[in-house]
Symmetry: C2
Subunit: 590 residues, 2 copies
């Protein structure tokens, strides 16, 4: 195998063009084997094999600096920069992250998992270079899907001002995660159709020099193009057309499904059987489709991730015009939802907690200052959600719950979730966010409340004494465990409370607890800082109640095991009851 | 006066073209008089008089819907839609806000003060219209400066997908707040130079139909253009060229100064004398200029608001390439700063607290996950800052202080501010944000610490007993007052602490207080929810310390008086000491 000899980009430069082609084939085999075992971002990585080889062949990393965007298309880059074992040898599979990571290699510039960042980051690298007399090439490699993000567009606008070396490689595979959306894609198409010759060229309009590469999976064309732009003294866009999933026919045929793909059979591409698990994605999608059929004014919005709430192509067609995928453009989605609500519509925007980080201002200004009845569904907001450092879902409570006028709800089971969703979509008074549970789909038989318009009314599920457990959302089931454990270990029937509202404190219930409780425990599935429990602590600050807040430490954790992280944060029911026993014991001694 | 007869856009439609011209003149006189008395956004409103008249002449508001962006260019719109008294009669001056406001008029769609929102909001209005069979025109009026913002660019990209009526009026006056920045402006210039005929047209590239209006202060041209696009069945860009400050020669000559202008003498344009007040803007600018001269790797970045940290044109020239104004593009600025830091540079990005709301994700992902030494200067973060509902500076602590790895500092005087700034720029370990004081420029003689690398070390300024006052940043001086008042009223020498670090808790000092203190008071100049004080409450939750947090209620307040808002939140030293006395008294009784 040629790959055996490649330990750094330097080794690559010794190969001739035929060997490069052979190497591309070997890398695809390696990727195929690993991804069939472990799953991962399939489509873009298969599409980028030749371009990555050509980049490292022509440029001189790490002196020349390549920034990947989204950096989940950096597998081939990792293979070529000294990390091939993590792709070849099963025992090393876990040793690299799914994104670029400076701790792994000097060839990686940033640890970045969100899209649309590369151009601005590259502008910064270029600026610092220019001020201090550096001469290296700065290259941003950005997928066409990531181009529609505001940050990428801001960067694309600014880059012209550098008037110096900056090479933006646009990996145009004709789609985002799902379809591309927006006018810029018809321009990309026009450029593809005219082999880059169309007069009306978005990149030229923004002041770039421009080069078109018709076959971005042809090493010869790529090498030639990168040779041409290397050491350019002004910003350049190199528009390369690649095939998503290139080299694996099943993936080429279904690029949306194969954007990210779980473990599969290498021969057939069929996903390995996994135990069936009910998921909230389908529940949400079913609810939205029903609403859409009943009411023309209901609009379901997503930003490039329709599948994450179950909107397959089939269901998107069923929803018709009432389903809107704006592409990677969360800011636009939230503002558009505000506009829809202002005109009497019922917008529901769903994305992952981690991507809500991009729209604080839009939620605050467009939605909350204007008190518009928009429903925001916050997905993967949980320790049980994604565990990549760049996609954590544990920061949403401080982010969202401190915005005035927003009602942030935390359902504890499926029935409560659906009731809150129904209420939220139909009411016209409040902006509402709902934290979709992530722990498990829990079904309950007891009736749940239908009305959530009387804000900040907590629910006492079990009345006890001495100790009260306020268990929010996804940690409600942990609360049940703690109450049970307290009974067994300490012999006290504790009170169990489902607070339901993240955004407010129930003064009446909390004051009521003062009568026959000495201690309150809060549980939340997210970081403690700026979160829910601290508000309870503050409420009792000048009263004679002891409060302990349980939740996560403020830190960027990476690829953790849930049980270990729970344990490290003293979040098992055994640990919690140990603490309660200790504190409660001390109090009785006083 | 013609204006006497204009009480709604309906009245406008009865006028002939000559009368419209006369009306424009009258409106400018009215604006001039009011702005000379009260100050306000001068340039864009003077430039937009004819366009606003023409819009209301051709379209049928409020059925047709006009969204202004930034809505500070809506003065003329307010005059024409039943609110002229607020511009004509001094006793009514205070009755309208500086932005569109649905509470004031059915002609105002949104209460919005941040830029770059109109296109997405308009897309939402159009979407809801299309789904429910509406037929009205939807018009977004956006300044060229606002176009560079990511949200506007996302909207501009998406709009094509509507395939229905949406009219985007681009008010191109050739500048943002200061100069425009980015490649799109050379395209606007090319379009101006070719009277809209250039083949390479950004808007056409994004799928828009396009119409150019050479003189956007000519009513005839405007009326004709709006007639043409009215009831269009697809998205249209109408590119109008206006003159910022039109009709007032002094303003036309100095459009940057006259973007917003304080009260002035109508004859000369000279600002009314105001008592001299030392400001942190100049302090910051002087510091940055000195650093820039000493060190090529220092880069000062702003997003369209250079003057707010004292960077006049003269000082920008002095800073040269080391001063970067990215235009309205905060996301790009933050990511670019990350890139600069990664390449060894020393970036300092400054903007208002309210605009930091746009960059949570960039601060979290690009800067903090990557632990890059970027300095963020947070301006106007205070009850003493801007008091428009859309520009409040009281939400930054929950927003920023709960991001892992970020060190958020709160200096209490000028010397401490400069020491923190110096430390931050020179260290390479932490992302740092500094909350620039806003209360007053306080100068102290005692030496201040130079080193802030040992995180979360609070400073005991006055050692006392029983009661400790932890007074953060801008409220430190309030803390001094409270301590003094406690001594007088209760006869106790309280402990006074300057916590300095917003992002962490000093366990050693807080544990130390347990020895001879019964009560802790926290003071912070921002909302309580998710803020600093709640962390202190949580720390003491299971200990025998009483804690009361002082700060602001979570709400969008508007054009408040500081003294009244302080009082309403029990933030005067008299009120605080009343509370202390009450709680402390009760504790002694136990």
């Amino acid at each position: 195998m040629l790959l055996e000899k490649i330990n750094s980009p330097r080794d690559l430069k010794k190969l001739d063009q035929n060997e490069l082609i052979l190497l591309a084939r070997e890398i695809r085999e390696v990727l195929l084997r690993k991804l069939s075992e472990k799953g991962g971002h399939f489509g873009s990585n298969f599409g980028m094999v030749e371009a990555t080889i050509a980049l490292h062949y022509i440029f001189d990393s790490p002196n020349d600096k390549i920034v990947f965007d989204v950096s989940h298309q950096s597998y081939c880059h990792k293979i070529l920069t000294g990390r091939k074992e993590a792709f070849i040898q099963e025992e090393h599979y876990g040793e690299v992250t799914g994104y670029t990571c400076p701790d792994e290699s000097e060839h990686d510039l940033f640890n970045i998992g969100h899209t649309s960042t590369s151009i601005s980051l590259a502008c910064g690298l270029a600026k610092a270079r220019d001020l201090t007399g550096g001469v290296e090439n700065i290259i941003a490699v950005i997928g066409d899907g990531a181009l529609s993000g505001g940050e990428a567009l801001e960067g694309l606008d600014y880059a012209y001002e550098l008037h110096s070396n900056l090479i933006i490689v646009i990996n145009d595979n004709g789609m985002s995660i799902a379809d591309n959306h927006g006018g810029l894609y018809q321009n990309l198409k026009m450029l593809r159709d005219t082999k880059g010759m169309a007069e009306c060229n978005l990149f030229r309009a923004l002041g770039f020099d421009y080069l078109f590469v018709e076959d971005g999976n042809d090493l010869g064309q790529l090498v030639q193009a990168f040779e041409k732009v290397k050491n350019s003294n002004h910003p350049f866009v190199v528009h390369i057309v690649t095939c998503k999933g290139k080299g694996y026919p099943v993936a080429e045929k279904n690029p949306e499904d194969w954007h990210w793909y779980p473990p599969f059979d290498m021969e057939t591409g069929i996903k390995r059987a996994r135990p069936y698990e009910e998921r909230y994605d389908a529940t949400t999608c079913d609810f939205l489709l029903r609403k859409i059929k009943e009411d023309r004014s209901v609009v379901a919005l997503v930003a490039a991730v329709p599948l994450t709430i179950g909107f397959t192509r089939e269901k998107r067609i069923a929803a018709g015009e009432q389903f809107v995928d704006v592409g990677i453009a969360e800011e636009h989605a939230v503002a558009m939802a505000a506009g829809i609500a202002r005109r009497g519509g019922k917008p529901i925007f769903t994305t992952d907690a981690s991507f809500f980080q991009r729209v604080y201002d839009q939620i605050s200004q467009e939605i909350c200052i204007n008190r518009l009845p928009v429903t925001l569904l916050v997905r993967n907001a949980s320790i049980f959600g994604m565990n990549d450092m760049t996609h954590l879902g544990i920061f949403d409570i401080p982010l969202l719950s401190n915005i005035p006028n927003l009602v942030y709800l935390a359902p504890t089971n499926k029935q409560e979730y659906l009731a809150m969703l129904e209420w939220s979509v139909e009411q016209r008074e409040y902006p509402v966010a709902i934290r979709i549970p992530r722990y498990k789909v829990i079904t309950v038989k007891e009736p749940v409340d239908k009305e959530y318009g009387s804000l900040n009314k907590y629910k006492i599920v079990k009345q006890g004494e001495d100790i009260a457990v306020i268990a929010l959302g996804d940690f409600y089931q942990l609360g049940e465990e703690v109450v049970e454990e307290v009974r067994k270990v300490i012999g006290i029937q504790a009170t169990l409370i489902n607070p339901r509202y993240i955004t407010g404190v129930d003064h009446e219930i909390l004051n009521g607890l003062l009568v026959n409780h000495k201690m309150v425990i809060t549980l939340e599935d997210g970081i403690l800082n700026g979160g829910f429990g601290e508000k309870i602590s503050a409420f009792y600050g000048n009263k004679k109640m002891r409060v302990i807040n349980y939740g996560l430490k403020k830190e960027f954790v990476d690829r953790y095991r849930v049980d270990e992280l729970m344990c490290a944060n003293r979040l098992t029911s055994r640990q919690i009851v140990e603490d309660i026993k200790y504190t409660f014991g001390n109090m009785r001694d006083v």
